[in-house]
Symmetry: none
Subunit: 201 residues, 4 copies
C-alpha cells in the first residue's frame, strides 16, 4: 500500500540517479577523482550531499559506475560510425571531428582521467583495462580495412595505425578538459594525414 505507486517511485529514482550521474561525470571529468568533492557533485546536481548516498554507496562506487557507463557510451559512439553514409575515410573523418569538437565528451574524458590518474578504485581500473585501447582498435578494424582496400588509407600495419590514431585522439581529449582559451583542437584533416599519407584522393 504505497503512497506512491511503483512506477512513480521508479521514475523518481531513475530521474534523480541520472541527474546525479550527469552532475558527477561533469565534475569528475574536469577535476579528477581527488579534485572532486562530493559536495561539488551535490551542488552541481542541486541536491544535498546526503542524498548522493541514497543512490550510490560511496564516492568510489559512483566513480566506478560512471566509468562503466562511459566505457559503454564510448563503444556505442564508435559503433555508431558504421551507420552513417560515406566512404570509410569519410566516416573516420566524421568520427574525428565529433570527438574533437563535441561539446560534451565527458565520457571520453572520464576514461582518460581514470586511465591517467592516481587513486582510482581498483575496479574502475580493471574495467578500463578490460576494454583497453585494443578493444577500441578491434572495433575500428573493419573500417580501417575497408579504407585500406579502397586505397584511402596508406599501406602498412593497420593495427598499429589504428592504435596510433586512437592514442592521438585520446591525448587530444585530455587537453580539452580545461577552459584554456589558447587551446584550439586541430583540424581533423591534419590528423587524418597520419592515415592517408598523401595517398587519399
Amino acid at each position: 500500500m504505497a503512497p506512491l505507486n511503483e512506477e512513480q517511485l521508479h521514475q523518481i529514482r531513475d530521474e534523480r540517479k541520472e541527474q546525479i550521474m550527469r552532475a558527477a561525470i561533469k565534475v569528475f571529468s574536469k577535476r579528477g577523482i581527488f579534485g572532486t568533492k562530493m559536495s561539488m557533485i551535490a551542488g552541481e546536481a542541486g541536491v544535498s550531499h546526503g542524498l548522493l548516498y541514497h543512490y550510490f554507496k560511496s564516492k568510489d562506487e559512483l566513480f566506478i559506475t560512471l566509468v562503466q557507463w562511459s566505457m559503454d557510451e564510448a563503444r556505442h559512439a564508435l559503433s555508431d560510425i558504421y551507420d552513417v553514409p560515406g566512404t570509410p575515410l569519410e566516416k573516420i573523418t566524421l568520427l574525428t571531428s565529433m570527438i574533437l569538437q563535441e561539446d560534451d565528451n565527458s565520457h571520453f574524458m572520464l576514461i582518460q582521467q581514470a586511465r591517467t590518474s592516481d587513486g582510482v578504485p581498483e575496479e574502475a581500473r580493471r574495467i578500463i583495462e578490460s576494454y583497453s585501447i585494443h578493444a577500441f582498435v578491434d572495433q575500428l578494424m573493419p573500417l580501417f580495412e575497408a579504407g585500406q582496400q579502397a586505397g584511402e588509407i596508406a599501406a602498412g600495419d593497420l593495427r598499429e595505425l589504428a592504435a596510433c590514431y586512437l592514442s592521438v585522439l585520446s591525448g587530444l581529449m585530455t587537453l580539452r578538459s580545461q577552459e584554456d582559451p589558447s587551446y584550439a583542437p586541430p583540424r581533423a584533416e591534419l590528423l587524418l594525414r597520419m592515415l592517408t599519407n598523401g595517398q587519399g584522393k
Copy 2:
C-alpha cells in the same frame, strides 16, 4: 637568456633543495597535485616532512617553483634541437622520438598535469598560460619554415601545423604517466606524416 636567474640558480645549487625538487617533480608528475602528499615527497627525498618547509613555504609554492623550472627545461629541450645536425625534418623526428621515449620526461608531464588538472595554484596556471603552446610554436617556427622551404614539410599554414603537432605530442605525453602495459607510444614516423603528408622522400 638564462632560464633561471642568478638567485634561483644559487638556490637550486643548494644540495638539499635540489634533492627535494627532484623528488617532488617525480611524485607530482606521476600523481598530480592532489594525489601527491607532502609526506610522499619527503619520503622520496629521504628527509623529514618538516624540512620541506625550510625550503618552500607551502605545497603550492613548491609546485609553482617546479612548474617554472619545468617550463624552462621544456624550452631548453626545444631549443637544443637546433644544435643537432641534420635536415629540419630529421631534427623534428629526433625531437619527437625523444619526447615520446624519454624515460624521464617529468618536466613535460608536470606541465601537462598542471595544464589539465584542477586545484592548481593560480600562479602556476599563469606561468603556464604565459608560456602557452604559442610560445612553443614560436620556438619551432624557424625549424618548420626551413622544413617547408626544403620541401620536407607540406604546404599550408605553418603555425596551425606546428600547433597541431605540439598538441598531439602533449596529449600523448599524458598517456605515458601510467604503467599501463597495454599502451605503447606510437612510432614517430607515423606522427610525422601529419607534417609531410607524403611529400617527404
Copy 3:
C-alpha cells in the same frame, strides 16, 4: 496505581505500535541505544522507518517508553512470584531460575543496558533511578522475611541480603546479552547459597 495509564494501554493495544515496540526492545536490548539504528527497528518490525515517527516522536522517546514499559514488566514479574505455590525459598529459587534461563528477558536486559550505558536520555535515567534497586528490594522484602522466619534464609540484615542478591542477578543478566557460547549461566542453587549459608535443609 496501574503501571500503564488508560491512554498508554490504549496505545499499546494499537497493533502497529505494539509491533514496533516489540521489535525495538529486541534490538535495543541486544545492541544498546547507540548500536541500535532506527532502520534496524523498522526492519525488525517490517515497516518503513518513516512510520516509526508516527508513533514515537524520536528515538529517545521510543527508548524512554520502552524503559518505562520494562520497569513495569519487571515489577510484575517480581510480584507474580507471590502467586506461585511453595515455601519462600522455593519461590526465590524459581524466580532465580526464571531470570537466568528465560529466553526472552529483553525487559531486564533493556534496564541493564539503560543503567550501564551512556547516552541514555535523561528521562530514562530518571525513571530507572526512581524505581532503583531499592524498589525491587522493597517488593521482595515480605518474601525474604517469611523465608527468614521459616529458617530457610540466614540470619542477618535482610535488606542488605536482598540487595546483594538482586545485584548479582542484575549483573548476570548483562552477561547473557551476547551469543558467547562459552558462557553458561550458573545454577540457581549455587547462587542461593548466598541466602541460605548452609542453613536451608
Copy 4:
C-alpha cells in the same frame, strides 16, 4: 589496580601514548565503543583529536590495543593474589574486595563492555574469546583446590563453582560503571557464602 608494570611501561614508554591510552580506557569503559567519540578521548587526554592518529591508526585499533592491555592486566591482577599471605579463602576474600571496591577497575569494565556490546572489532572479540572466562577459571583452580582441601570451600564441582563465582563478579563490575549513587557493591562476605556454604569456620 596496579598501573603499568615495568615491562608494559617499556612497551608503552612514550608518555603521550600512555596518556592517550589512559584517557581512552576511561572513556571507553564508561561509554562503550559507540558512545565514545574520538573527540572525547582527545579532550580527556588534553590533546587534539588529530594527535590520536599519530599513535593509533584508527578508533578500532585503539580499542583493540586497550582490550589486549586490559586482558593482560586482568590476568596479572588474578595471579598477584597468589603472592599475598593468608589461607586460600582469605586470598579469595581479598581478591573479591579488591575487584568490588577498587576505584579504577577500568580494565575489567572495558572487557565487560567489549564482551557485551555490539560493534566491537572482530579482533577485539577474538582476543576476549581466546582468554575467555575459562582461562580465568584455570588461573584460579589451584587456589580453589587448596581451599577445598583445607575444608574452607564446599565440596562439589570446583570448575563450576569458580565459573559461577567469576560470573557473579563480572556481572557486578558492570553495575559499577555508572555513578548511580543508589548502588553499593555487596560485601564480599555475602558473596563468599556461595563458595563456603556454611562450611567455613
